[in-house]
Symmetry: C2
Subunit: 480 residues, 2 copies
């Protein structure tokens, strides 16, 4: 039986022989033709397609090299007999994965919120993003170009799992000078983000079924990770000054506390010294590790950034997490972790199993950006720009909303959490806001307890001041 070939050559860059090969291959492996069938003679197919005979011959040669066809002298070219089992043999047995326990817990998570919705034309109080006009891309281009040279072998090798050393040095200096972190460069490890660091710490330190102490409301992305890992959460409420340490359970098996002392996420508020000391004392008594997520502590408006909890720790039981997402740009995907010395080696061994370090080019550019003073200049600029927007937002809220909402004064960061009155319907407000051209974000998802109190999050870093005012005006018209 002869194979009749119905080829459609396309106008692409792909060489003609490659198109012919690909079409025939696809016909064979998809089961549309039968093992043993004869392919058209090269001369005939070439004439049919209007191509040179050598082009068809080249396609057949490639098919033969892969064993898909067999040519027999004087008889022609045939679809390989051994393909019978693929083509006409067993029924397909479509693969249906059986998920592990971990996989089942992952699969039961709500599908990730899409963070890149197309909200053009709307007043979008998105948060966790930066404002492109504030970033000095010209400097960045120049720094990148330094390493994009054929004379530089750096990019042609794998980088260090722990990160580009000059960046670790620059961070150790910066963190000790500006964040009160006590560390050597060797304790600084570059990660793709806080989630990677938390995943590695959970896998290294938490047997399934462990207890983890967290804040509520809090950074639920981290909590999902702990829960999928099999941990149980003990969630402590927060007030305007952060986590309520007097609620720390006296008897507890928790081996890990996750806190945001510099600027409680997402409610806002800075943990005072007495509470910090109480946290450390509790951790010491329970031999627990504290993870301090300092996701935006350098964006503090009315005072200098406060020193990190890590700097008060004398036992080596605080892990400090930081990120460049908020202060450079999110798409950079660079974060860092400062580890107690005893955790450096196991952390790096775990990390080297899973990745081989962040892209060197980006790390090198950030290292130079820091070492040459651009970073501090950029931070000053951000504090000024975002500080002004924060003020516009808080003023507008006070003027327009009165006491229909409450919030913790924004001392730092890029968003505000508006706590709504208990009778308000968060989802309805978001929907009606969207109808009025304003995008705000759900707050209840950050609470561990159910039902969660209604709240919305408003980021102010991505909007100009006029839009902030107009957005608040429209939002105020919606609240009852």
């Amino acid at each position: 039986m002869n194979l009749s070939i119905n080829l459609h050559l396309k106008d692409t860059d792909l060489p003609l022989y490659r198109q012919i090969y690909a079409e025939i291959r696809q016909a064979i492996v998809s089961g549309r033709v039968t093992a043993g069938m004869r392919l058209p003679a090269t001369r005939r197919l070439a004439a049919q397609l209007g191509v040179a005979r050598v082009t068809v011959a080249q396609a057949y040669a490639q098919l033969e090299a892969e064993g898909l066809v067999v040519s027999r002298v004087g008889a022609g070219t045939f679809v390989a007999e051994m393909l019978r089992q693929v083509i006409a043999g067993e029924e397909t047995a479509v693969f249906k994965p059986t998920l592990s326990d971990w996989g089942q817990r992952v699969a039961s998570l709500p599908v990730a919120r899409n963070r890149v919705g197309d909200n053009r034309g709307l007043i979008d109080f998105g948060f966790g993003r930066s404002f492109p006009h504030t970033f000095p891309y010209d400097i960045w281009r120049r720094l990148l170009a330094r390493y994009l040279s054929t004379d530089d072998a750096m990019l042609s090798r794998y980088g260090s799992v722990a990160g580009f050393y000059p960046l670790r040095q620059a961070l150790a200096t910066y963190l000790s000078q500006w964040r009160g972190v006590v560390c050597e460069p060797e304790q600084v490890v570059i990660v793709s983000g806080a989630q990677q660091a938390l995943d590695l710490l959970a896998r290294l330190l938490l047997p399934s079924g462990s207890e983890v102490v967290v804040e509520t409301p809090g950074y639920t992305d981290a909590y999902a990770l702990f829960q999928v890992h099999g941990a149980h959460l003990t969630a402590l409420p927060v007030d305007d000054e952060g986590i309520l340490v007097d609620r720390l359970p006296a008897a507890s098996e928790a081996k890990l506390l996750f806190v945001t002392p510099s600027n409680q996420f997402p409610r806002g508020g800075t943990l005072p010294l007495a509470r910090r000391l109480a946290l450390l004392q509790w951790a010491r008594r329970h031999d627990a590790l504290i993870v301090e997520d300092d996701y935006d502590g350098e964006l503090r408006y009315d005072s200098q950034p406060l020193g990190a909890l890590q700097g008060l720790d004398r036992d080596g039981r605080v892990v400090y997490l930081g990120t460049f997402s908020k202060v450079l740009f999110p798409a950079l995907r660079l974060g860092y972790v400062v580890l107690p010395e005893v955790l450096v080696r196991p952390f790096l061994q775990a990390k080297s199993l899973l990745d081989r370090g962040a892209p060197t080019l980006m790390q090198a550019a950030v290292a130079d950006f820091m070492a040459e003073g651009h970073f501090e200049r950029h931070l000053r600029q951000l504090r000024q720009t975002y500080g002004a927007r924060r003020e516009v937002l808080e003023n507008a809220l006070r003027d327009q909303m009165g006491d229909r909402v409450s919030w913790t004064a924004v001392a730092a960061g890029l968003h505000i959490m508006l706590r709504l009155q208990p009778h308000e319907d968060e989802a309805a407000i978001m929907r009606r806001a969207a109808e009025a051209g304003v995008v705000v974000y759900p707050g209840s998802v950050y609470y561990v307890e159910r039902p969660s109190p209604p709240a919305v999050l408003l980021g102010f870093s991505g909007l100009n001041e006029a839009d902030i005012e107009e957005g608040v005006r429209r939002l105020a018209a919606i609240l009852t």
Copy 2:
């Protein structure tokens, strides 16, 4: 009691008040001073340091904002009483981590080989790296610059967990045209490298104690990951054509096979059609998933790249892994995985827990690099450059070594595995080679069985042709 302060102001960019603040803070939190101590009067410290009084006052204000000192009108500024518990209270209780089972398995791994040794001046047959002079950095700079503009909001938002969509499209087209992969862009997910993909697959699909079928010698980095995950390996030997499928166990609980059919790693060899079909049939009978690692299949020298195993699969039970490390540059840290449709959702849910996607800028540049034809041009150039080096290496080996070594003809890839005679001592040869100024890499580490046969790996992509010949000459003088 008064605190005597012995400050050393340094000549840095750090503001003076910040230096004073940092020194005093450090003295306090490190326990060098006692709670209740009085700080020197601002006037006196200013005179002592030769700075303005306002500078010292600013430092004290920051310390007070953090609660570390308390000022009492008319009396002065005192180290906070509440710090007594940190300073003079309990003994430090240094944190000693208790590792989980996973953590203990990780900690027992040998420390990662350092891939960035300083071998300047030596003839270094390093592999897994690219040769900087072959990469068109000028084009790359131009592509990156397109997105490094303050008008472009792309970088100021989080990217997609699955990857930059235009890159997924470009890959789907390329993989179907040149690698015989059958997929939609939605099945292509950008990862930081093969290890990330394998980690997610293992966690999603393999309960602890699972069996995984692998090749020996093989890609032991992947095997370490499976083993740390708690899996048991069934390792099948390979010959010059890849994995010996007739050794596949008839009775097996294995749910995952890890294979390198395009170019067996590290031995070399291309799996013929009959063995590919046998693999698929075995996987179907055992309802197993096949992971096809196509780490360098596009660098094939004497023929076009062969179609992927994935393209022969009609059940959706092959996961295809690819990387840009070999064909662009390793420090890029971009790989990709083509998933069966049923695995896309759980894979993305798992990935979104752990990271928020690869850096957008790099992905955008690679997408344009592919879409605008640079990638295929670059591959042609690499095949030519590396193909010539491969020939020089194989010729030199034949001329200099005779039958003292054996190897599988290099049809693809960037290295060669020299199998040594059983009486040779691999470590001694590496050591003596280094003494002769030649760096070669251990081969026995890629075998699962112990004791492993002696072998060395020689990468040829990072050396020019003269160095390749000279390196082989020196190496030949060492072998017995």
